[in-house]
Symmetry: C2
Subunit: 476 residues, 2 copies
């Protein structure tokens, strides 16, 4: 009897190994139907998506759309109308107040040195910066490798230039960004604290080019605000060389940016009601505001048009979700996240049950997978559940399933128990465009954009079918 038992156990195990244990483990209950549905989703996205033409409109007819600007208002109206044309079950605006900062006229800057006379360089004001005097600001310029190093330097009455380049060794370029983005927030306060009169940041990108990268900065209470700009990477390399050879070099900058009182604005929301569990929300999202110096094509027009297109796609293939599929176009991701904070506030009041939120905000490049996040008490369970979809998604080149940062807007929803997912496209080109005049429609590829729609729709479909909770073992 025992021999037979051993034999049976052995055969079972060998069989399991033969067919691939992993494969066996991850086979979905309705795998064949699901495979057909995913193929349908991809076919539809690659043949019938509106995302690319919607992006063209948003970029070319509306353009840069920072919160509080006329263009942001136009984008809200366009988002609402575009969702309404899909004839989804409801479309509405969620009000929120947003900060309002304007760049004003194009910035000017010169490196002034006895070595060269002067040379114009490309800069842009960092978001929230105060302007220079109308005549501009000219002062000796000193270079710091890091923000921390400023503390040990004599910067009184000077302009501080932090020249901390991207670390090229990271596979994921967002890791390089993470290593430098703190400088954008902490640089000016640190410099001002030690008496500096202006702040220059090396643009946050890999390429050595002429495009300065904007992005938000902040002042600290009790420390005087100073004009703060980013210089293009090419300009940064040049400025660094001049400083190294002329310790009397100075810098001239002229900004006439301005902060205005908060303005009313909106998150734009559209949804298809669930047939069985209408109270359970699966969210797809991107942010509708964008920096004013480009067209906000990758950041984040792509996420906006992809999210809207998920609703179009389900309508078009006749898929009626069991749960409510909601598209949210966030307002003010770039300089305040007021839309996301307002959404959270309302969601808490209404005890909203948002089981899954996806944000596409890493550019409209070819998708490679998902970063998954949730409150630490449930993360392991939710990750395991979503990872069980990996096998069925891998044929669509979605290989990356990792615990990781989800998205600037949806991260707040962890507080209400939401599983938060960032769509992860290939990251290599993102920081060639991010927050620059180069973030334009022409730099988005139609197929790459559409594959993002399909990837998001596929994950929504699977969660609509199977939920986000791994029941096995009841780990929650």
């Amino acid at each position: 009897m025992k021999k037979i038992t051993i034999a049976i156990i052995s055969i079972t195990i060998l069989a399991l190994m033969g067919m691939g244990y992993q494969q066996y483990q991850n086979r979905l209950p309705n795998q064949e139907d699901d495979e057909k549905m995913l193929r349908k989703i991809y076919d539809n996205a690659l043949l019938h998506s509106d995302s690319y033409e919607n992006l063209r409109y948003l970029c070319k007819r509306i353009g840069g759309r920072l919160a509080g600007s006329p263009q942001a208002a136009a984008a809200v109206e366009w988002g609402k109308q575009t969702l309404q044309r899909l004839e989804v079950d409801s479309v509405f605006l969620q009000p929120c107040m947003v900060p309002h900062w304007e760049r004003g006229e194009k910035e000017q800057a010169r490196i002034i040195s006895k070595l060269i006379g002067w040379e114009e360089v490309n800069i842009c004001a960092l978001g929230n910066s105060i302007p220079t005097p109308e005549i501009g600001l000219t002062a000796p310029v000193v270079e710091a490798k890091t923000v921390a190093a400023i503390a040990d330097m004599d910067v009184k009455g000077k302009i501080v230039f932090v020249n901390n380049p991207f670390d090229h060794k990271h596979m994921d370029t967002f890791d390089a960004y993470s290593g430098c983005v703190g400088d954008r927030y902490e640089g000016a306060p640190m410099a001002a604290k030690h008496g500096a009169v202006g702040f220059i940041l090396r643009s946050l990108g890999h390429a050595i080019d002429e495009f300065p990268h904007t992005g938000n900065m902040a002042y600290e209470e009790g420390i005087p605000p100073i004009p703060s700009v980013a210089i293009s990477t090419k300009g940064a390399e040049y400025l660094s060389k001049i400083i190294a050879n002329d310790d009397e070099a100075s810098f001239y900058m002229k900004l006439n940016c301005q902060s205005y009182p908060d303005k009313p604005s909106f998150n734009v929301i559209g949804e298809i009601k669930g047939s069985e569990f209408p109270d359970e929300i699966i969210m797809v999202s991107g942010h509708i505001d964008a920096w004013d110096n480009g067209e906000g094509a990758h950041d984040d027009g792509s996420g906006v048009v992809q999210s809207m297109d998920v609703l179009r796609l389900f309508k078009d293939i006749g898929y009626q979700p069991k749960r409510t599929v909601r598209c949210v176009l966030w307002m003010n991701e770039e300089n305040g996240t007021r839309g996301a904070r307002e959404y959270l506030k309302v969601a808490k009041e209404t005890k909203e049950k948002c089981i899954l939120a996806i944000e596409s905000d890493r550019g409209g490049f070819a998708p490679r997978g998902f970063f998954i996040d949730a409150d630490s008490a449930i993360l392991k369970n939710r990750f395991a559940k979503l990872e069980s979809f990996k096998k069925i998604l891998e044929p669509y080149q979605l290989h990356i399933f990792q615990e990781g940062f989800s998205g600037v807007d949806i991260k707040f929803l962890k507080e209400i128990g939401t599983t938060c997912v960032g769509l992860v496209p290939d990251s290599q080109r993102y920081f060639d465009y991010h927050h620059t005049a180069n973030d334009v429609f022409e730099n988005v590829n139609k197929r790459e954009l559409e594959l993002g729609v399909a990837g998001m729709a596929s994950l929504v479909y699977l969660v609509d079918q199977y939920g986000v909770v791994l029941e096995e073992g009841k780990k929650d």
Copy 2:
């Protein structure tokens, strides 16, 4: 006793499953050292590669370089000099005769119809096409959806337009290309056989744009050659609409391309001699010829500079391979593969033992994995061996390990027992550039190009360490 045995077996199995059976199975003998070496390879490629600046030179200073052209001769000389500067163990040229076809003056074309008068459209001659008469060729134009459909049409005295668009549903865009590229070779002979006087191919790409795609075509013996061109996809859509509304529409084309006698040329070869097994060759390669209408940046300047950079990288990190690492820059991939055929001939004569050949010829995009091929008698074994490297390469986003087509040049080497590997980058943008005026340096991203260098170097390193034969079970 039996209970204990069962318990031990069970525990072992559970442990194996716990740590991931797959992971256990694929752990390399010197995994930790290998991981360190791969990190070193990636760091070097991302920080110190010459590939991008080499590509700039090849594209901007030499440009399009079809076999037999002065530019091809310049590219050979540049390839040799650039390899010599690396101070590798030997650099040499392998002579071969190549076809010589020249496009001549820029092509001209008009759609002529009573509906519109006439409209200029963008065309380019297909490689190997005969010219039109000096005054141009004007004839009624008819549309066929497929080449096969021509047989049932009245095409006598007419120009045949085959309007077979890419199938957008494929994940891998090369599958869409495979579905249409036959038209480029078979279209003109089929049309001529039925009495047509000219042939127009819809360009082989996804995007609707103004860039016609060239590429080689062939005539068949006994069938009169007819002028053969590709029309841009935008032009194709327009021509199709005109034909649908005017069955008397005609087409005017003027080509003055010309075939000349074969010319002498060369494969360019450089290598680092192996310290233990110098007779075993691991090859990295790309083709140095490129179509004349662009700069051959993705096709295949990228493969050329990546292959050269693998040698630079090993020298730079001080890695002395056990086997010989050989860089081959193939001549005449685009219209004859004479370089590859000559290499095979010599390799057979010298009984060369090339154990692995990699070709990078799918563009300089972010690498996603490898397609693996070999003679059918050994394929399963070699595939299993290379797939055992998957786990260690996945952190570098090399996820795709599939049996599949390797490369146009290296495929010949299957005859001498070589395991042939195609580097597989993300394919979504390739056919926006392929064989067009748009295949220029500016459309290659530095990091994506460098990741290809690192991916190739990593695989070369692993094969240098472990060979290509899976010993386990001696399946060969």
